[in-house]
């Protein structure tokens, strides 16, 4: 039992889908990072602007630091509508001037005046973004640094980052879907030639041992040429086998003929009736054997020719004439009237003349040997593009229940027959796209009908 391997299509799709999924995940992560950076940058500007405004609002009045927080700073921060705002202003002595006293000062070092320090943190249980801006005072009464810390919750920036990411993810998904769809289409298209080679092999005639000539892409050529090499080897093996059968039959026939003539000779010199009777039986068996060998030869020949010999135009009338000449022996123990009815115009089909002759010969031989009492008629006609060769006799014929079996090899051997004759004819006709049929008109008429597609069709 061969283990079932996943299809090439499934393998490719799974691999490509995995690559796409990995790529999409990486891109999504990257998109999230970029989106977060962009959102932070956008909202950090507002935060820094607000911190500057607040720092600007710190001034010295009557020798003390005081601050009048501008509403505009809060309005600036309110541009991110949902975010809460925390702030703290620390005076030069480290005391909280105003704001949330517990808001931590981010960073140990004060930031450079032109570069406020941004950081992330948590305040009142919510994640916040903090900015720290410093302003130096050199007033006679107030000297030192004032720190302004502004913190804002991160809802707006998170929402913006999420929205940007979602849009990017939408694009990534659309692109991945397109890529996957395209891949499915491309793979199906690319694998088509394989199916074509398969179909050509499947639809091949079992006897056809010619090389495959279907056009294939470069990648499949080794595969097809391997098949062709295999076919060539198979053909040579088959040829050898058939040659062997033919040789064997031939080799058997020669000693058989010799044996038969020896037995003939012997029969003239034997007086004893008992011995004569034995001898007659031996002669009968030898006849039977030689006929079997003849038919085996015939079978081997047509098997060899089927699919191996190219079809050519065949003159049916001439072929049938020859068949009759070869099938009806000059010497018969009974008188049979043999007739051939042919139409005036010539009849032609495409096929192998030798095989066809062999088929007709076997049908006639069968009729002579088992059927015809006094009359044998061979008719030839062409109707509606079908050529019919009909062999009719006045013998007992074949019982209808045997009709399907007599066309099989050794299907219904008759006494003294080999059981090959009609099967040879049926094989030949099948190879020519025709058929073998039977017809019984009345008590004294049985016909075997061979049909072949005519030249015209």
């Amino acid at each position: 039992m061969v283990r079932r391997e996943p299809s090439l299509f499934a393998r490719l799709i799974v691999l490509i889908a995995m690559v796409l999924a990995t790529g999409a995940a990486a891109l999504t992560t990257a998109a999230w990072y970029y989106a977060r950076a962009a959102a932070n940058e956008a909202y950090d500007r507002l935060l820094v602007g607000a911190a500057y405004q607040m720092a600007e609002a710190v001034h010295v009045q009557d020798g003390t630091l005081t601050v009048e927080l501008p509403m505009s700073a809060f309005e600036l921060l309110a541009l991110s509508e949902r975010d809460r705002i925390f702030y703290r202003i620390v005076d030069t002595s480290g005391r909280t001037l105003t704001g949330y006293g517990d808001l931590p000062l981010p960073g140990s070092e004060p930031p450079a005046p032109d570069r406020p320090a941004l950081s992330n943190g948590t305040f009142m249980g919510a994640p916040v973004r903090l900015v720290r801006a410093s302003r130096a005072f050199a007033d006679p009464s107030v000297q030192g640094r004032v720190d302004v810390v502004v913190a804002q919750t991160v809802e707006a920036r998170t929402a913006l980052a999420r929205e940007l990411t979602l849009r990017a993810v939408g694009l990534i998904l659309a692109m991945s879907t397109l890529a996957l769809g395209g891949t499915i289409f491309a793979i199906r298209h690319a694998l088509k030639p394989m199916a074509r080679v398969g179909a050509v092999l499947r639809e091949r005639d079992p006897h056809d041992v010619t090389p495959i000539t279907v056009a294939t892409p470069r990648e499949l050529r080794p595969f097809v040429s391997a098949i062709n090499t295999f076919i060539a080897r198979l053909k040579s093996r088959m040829d050898l086998m058939q040659q062997f059968v033919a040789d064997t039959a031939h080799q058997i026939r020669t000693p058989l003929a010799a044996l038969k003539s020896q037995v003939d000779l012997l029969s003239h010199h034997l007086g004893e009736p008992q011995a004569r009777q034995h001898l007659a039986r031996v002669e009968e068996r030898v006849d039977q054997l030689s006929r079997l060998v003849g038919q085996l030869l015939s079978h081997a020949m047509i098997s060899h020719r089927a699919g191996a010999v190219p079809f050519a135009p065949v003159d049916v009338t001439e072929t049938v004439r020859r068949a009759i000449r070869e099938a009806v022996p000059d010497t018969l123990d009974r008188d049979i009237l043999t007739m051939l009815e042919v139409p005036p115009q010539p009849i032609e089909v495409r096929g192998d003349a030798i095989s066809l002759k062999e088929a007709v010969k076997n049908v006639i031989d069968n009729a002579v040997r088992h059927g015809a009492a006094t009359r044998l008629t061979v008719r030839l006609r062409e109707e509606n593009g079908t050529v019919e060769i009909e062999v009719e006799d006045d013998g007992p014929g074949i019982a209808p229940e045997l009709w399907p079996r007599v066309v099989e090899r050794f299907g219904a051997p008759s006494p003294g027959g080999s059981g090959l004759g009609l099967s040879i004819a049926a094989d030949v006709l099948a190879a020519h796209g025709g058929s073998l049929g039977f017809r019984r008109d009345n008590e004294n008429s049985f016909a075997v009908v061979m049909r072949i597609a005519g030249r015209a069709s």
Binding site: T66, V67, E68, L69, P70, M71, A73, F74, E75, L77, A78, E81, R82, D83, R84, I85, F86, I89, L97, T98, G99, M124, G125, A126
Partner: protein, 368 residues
């Protein structure tokens, strides 16, 4: 110039006592609880803590109970600063002050929400609220209340009725003998809403506000904790003009038959939207959310316009109010947007400075 320095000198002695007031006012001193029993079998109790007159809220509470008859409502009244102090303290301790907070001092609610003391609400009603009346889905403005001048018709002749803030300042300056001790306004040290309105006045026009404040001080303006007290005195004839009064309260008096006139200032009219909020740790937050949704719903708004606060969000005027027919259409309405900008109002340093400036100009001259 000389007079000014004398003025300052006199003030210095009073200054200390004034400055301590806003910080000592954190002790609750005006709490009154009222209970509205459930109409049907009681299933839940909704506790409302409000710095809003009960008389204005009552029609809304009754209508809410018509919708939810199984709710008993407890209504606790505060002055704005007390409500904020109590709510902030409760939030610090991880507790909640009731299930709904209502305050005309929306800056207090914004500060509470900014400190994470609010519970967000998302509903079709909150989504329909105007942008300036909704912050974070935490704090909602549910009324539209113009800030007006109110005068006693029998004491102020038609020719004297001020149409703008500047006219009010000029009137007090030109007729000091007539109006000395006759003008009332909020004591912004006690009233959060008074502070909020004065702050926004100062933002609108710095010069006019300075003149007005000076005129008020010169005219020995009477300062009170609440609108109702000033309206009482106006009605009684002890005062002639009330400055920065909430139109809703004044109109309620007019409807009740008081001989009062209401003027929408024609230069600009501040519009206050009373705030509602559900505290973060509210024990019955679902009931609180339902109440806030009701206040914002078209039904609640309709009841509010008809029976409670009389002014609709479109700025349409009830009959008998002097000024433009719609302050929204004519563009003189200045709604106090509910948003983080109110945090600047809440900044204690800024607040301290503002109140001390205000006290310096006003209290010193009006205090006998």
């Amino acid at each position: 110039m000389k007079r000014h320095s004398i003025l300052r000198h006199r003030l210095a002695t009073l200054c200390l006592s004034i400055l301590t007031v806003p910080f000592s006012a954190t002790l609750p001193h005006a709490q009154e609880a009222t209970t509205f029993p459930a109409v049907a079998a009681e299933i839940e109790v909704l506790s409302i803590h409000a710095a809003t007159d009960l008389s204005a809220m009552e029609p809304l509470i009754r209508d809410f109970q018509a919708l939810f008859p199984n709710t008993r409502i407890e209504f606790v009244e505060y002055v704005t600063n007390d409500l904020y102090a109590a709510a902030a303290e409760a939030c610090r301790q991880g507790k909640a002050l009731g299930d709904v907070l209502l305050s005309s001092s929306v800056d207090h609610l914004v500060k509470l929400a900014n400190d994470g003391c609010a519970r967000g609400i998302a509903s079709p009603e909150t989504a329909a609220a105007p942008r300036w009346a909704n912050w974070r889905g935490d704090v909602f403005g549910f009324t539209f209340e113009p800030v007006v001048f109110v005068y006693n018709r029998s004491k102020v002749p038609a020719g004297d009725v001020p149409k703008t803030h500047l006219e009010l300042a000029d009137l007090l300056r030109l007729k000091p003998e007539t109006y000395a001790g006759q003008v009332g306004t909020y004591d912004i040290r006690l009233s959060g809403i008074g502070f909020l309105l004065a702050f926004y006045d100062s933002q609108e026009t710095t010069t006019t506000f300075g003149r007005l404040l000076e005129s008020l001080g010169r005219a020995h303006a009477v300062i009170r904790c609440c609108t109702s007290q000033i309206l009482d005195e106006l009605e009684a004839g002890r005062l002639s003009i009330g400055y920065n009064m909430l139109a809703s309260y004044a109109y309620a008096r007019v409807r009740a038959g008081a001989n009062l006139g209401i003027v929408m200032p024609a230069d600009y009219t501040l519009v206050l939207s009373r705030g509602a909020m559900v505290p973060a740790h509210a024990p019955r937050a679902d009931a609180g959310t339902r109440f806030v949704n009701y206040l914002l719903s078209s039904r609640g708004q309709e009841v509010s316009r008809r029976e409670a606060f009389f002014f609709g969000a479109g700025g349409e005027m009830p009959p008998g109010v002097e000024g433009a027919s719609s302050i929204v259409r004519t563009g003189i309405a200045r709604p106090i947007a509910i948003g983080p900008a109110l945090l600047a109002v809440q900044d204690h340093e800024r607040r301290r400075r503002f109140i001390s400036d205000w006290g310096r100009t006003l209290v010193e001259m009006s205090t006998p």
